[in-house]
Symmetry: C2
Subunit: 333 residues, 2 copies
């Protein structure tokens, strides 16, 4: 069977204006373990921007549909699907393909929408929650009494990290670019510094540091780790400035991001790591457990702004120019 859906495709690398919404047919012949979701909202991630700029090595060949997460309602289920029925409100992670009005995914990438989340919040949750969960509970394995630094505290991942640190009983410090956002960090029981204030501070002995920039900042953060402390890098925001990147800028950020020799780590008694949460998205072995965590989570994302799916160009530009505070979503109707 064929059905019609709206899709947003990346068919050429370049500016946000390349993104176009179009109507296309797709097959509704589901595999046994698949479900069809009538998508209400799609989440936008920084990786989507990188992908559109041609800076994301793991992107599929063009043309492709970006997007890692949606919320919506189940409208059809495969023959072996027992956990979902038509009408269930759900959220789902998908590795690419999320910028669509109707999404087919295997059931293990889907969970019921927790009742404390709105449909908007549900679309804003999977990628950021999973990233924060991996950082705090799998890489950092943060526990009571740890001292934790979140350098992207007002971003989508950071909001979840602040909540997790509070629940875990860790002492948490959140960084932000502007003094105005400090209040937001404080509201989660964390200490707040601007980047400038923090650089001048003598805060150190961190057990876990989450870094989202890469680049030259990493060296200073590494010094501030306690013995046995771990620095985890989840992004290279240093490659982008005011919504623009360039090969020289990218090269500079990569070159300034340090190498660590194992012997140097031994001498410092420290740990470095990094990850791309999106690579866990098509690893069923991991996702089955992660989606359980997601379903039972009581945390809330911060939704920044919702754009109509037809305004996807504006939505990308909004993120690239750093206007976003909280998650940016596309609304399908």
């Amino acid at each position: 069977m064929q059905n019609e859906r709206s899709e947003i495709l990346i068919s050429q690398f370049g500016s946000a204006s390349q993104l176009q919404k179009s109507e296309n047919s797709f097959s509704t012949d589901l595999k046994n373990d698949e479900v069809l979701i009538d998508v209400k909202y799609s989440g936008i991630n920084f990786a989507d921007i990188m992908m559109r700029l041609g800076l994301y090595p793991d992107a599929p060949p063009k043309p492709f549909i970006p997007g890692y997460e949606v919320s919506g309602v189940i409208s059809q289920v495969g023959s072996s699907v027992n956990d979902f029925k038509v009408g269930d409100e759900v959220m789902a992670g998908s590795r690419f393909g999320g910028y669509v009005s109707k999404l087919v995914v295997p059931e293990w990438q889907v969970v019921k929408k927790p009742s404390h989340l709105s449909m908007e919040e549900a679309a804003a949750t999977p990628v950021n929650f999973i990233t924060a969960h991996l950082a705090m509970n799998e890489f950092g394995r943060v526990r009571r009494g740890d001292k934790v630094l979140i350098d992207c505290a007002t971003g989508g991942v950071g909001v979840f990290c602040l909540q997790m640190a509070q629940t875990l009983g860790a002492e948490c410090i959140g960084l932000t670019s502007t003094p105005a956002k400090k209040e937001f960090i404080l509201s989660y029981g964390a200490k707040a510094y601007t980047f400038e204030e923090f650089e001048k501070s003598d805060e150190n002995n961190f057990n876990f540091i989450l870094n989202s920039t890469g680049g030259k900042k990493v060296k200073d953060l590494f010094k501030r780790l306690d013995k046995a402390g771990q620095l985890t890098c989840i992004g290279l925001q240093a490659t982008i400035h005011n919504g623009k990147t360039s090969l020289p800028r990218k090269l500079k950020a990569v070159l300034q991001t340090p190498f660590y020799h194992l012997i140097q780590l031994m001498q410092n008694s420290k740990s470095v790591s990094g990850f791309n949460a999106l690579k866990f998205f098509d690893d069923k072995r991991w996702m089955i457990n992660i989606m359980k965590e997601l379903e039972s989570s009581t945390y809330k994302p911060h939704v920044g702004k919702v754009f109509a799916a037809s305004d996807v160009t504006k939505a990308h530009e909004f993120i690239e120019t750093r206007q976003a505070k909280g998650k940016v979503l596309l609304k399908w109707s």
Copy 2:
């Protein structure tokens, strides 16, 4: 007040025959927080050998007394010491200075000997227990269900790691150089492989790997980590072969030990670390908690061989020629 004690000093770098026992006077004017221990046994560590060879950058200036751990009986206490009294059986960690018949140390480096340990076992415990504890509980933060690899399973640290893995409920694999030692690993509920068998095996998806060699083996181990897995290096045994090292050999091992770029770690979603447990020994903030762990530990070391302190040359040679299976001790009488 002055008193006499036996000391073993490193006054020249070189072969084990350089080590000499001599009688020297020392001050028994204790600081408030110090205790004097009548030493029964001193533990020998691989770092002592490296130090004697001149390969240990953090060693104090010559001449100095090596040695990181002792067992013995308290024979005098400083004015503010409340937790110990004369006659208490204790074990202690000390950063250098342990090859002596009478040792002065701050009380926070001392704990009462747990009743399940003999005096011999107590001297065989601090360094290896603390190293294993840091590896498993601070770096790896190993938990139930984790898959763990210990590449030095029949060594002093490995024995504690095997016991900790069992207690934590982790699935553990231990490696050894000789098939004859596999039985020993199996007795702790772990799986056992020789290095050769393991290289050919497809064991992978480890959450935590403890590596004691450095060198080219690290690359293969890194590949065998699961996503979010951590490799921790605690030694460079690759620099020593049949009790001998040389500058070319050392250089080769160091050059073959890999660098990790943070971006490479991100792409692999993995973690690398290393540490030198001995650097924690003079960090009071850390030691206070570690010594509590040590005091309440129910684990047992494996004592390999005891030499009279006057036979320290033979004891070092015994370790360098890889005859040791279990901890080697010096006995003072």
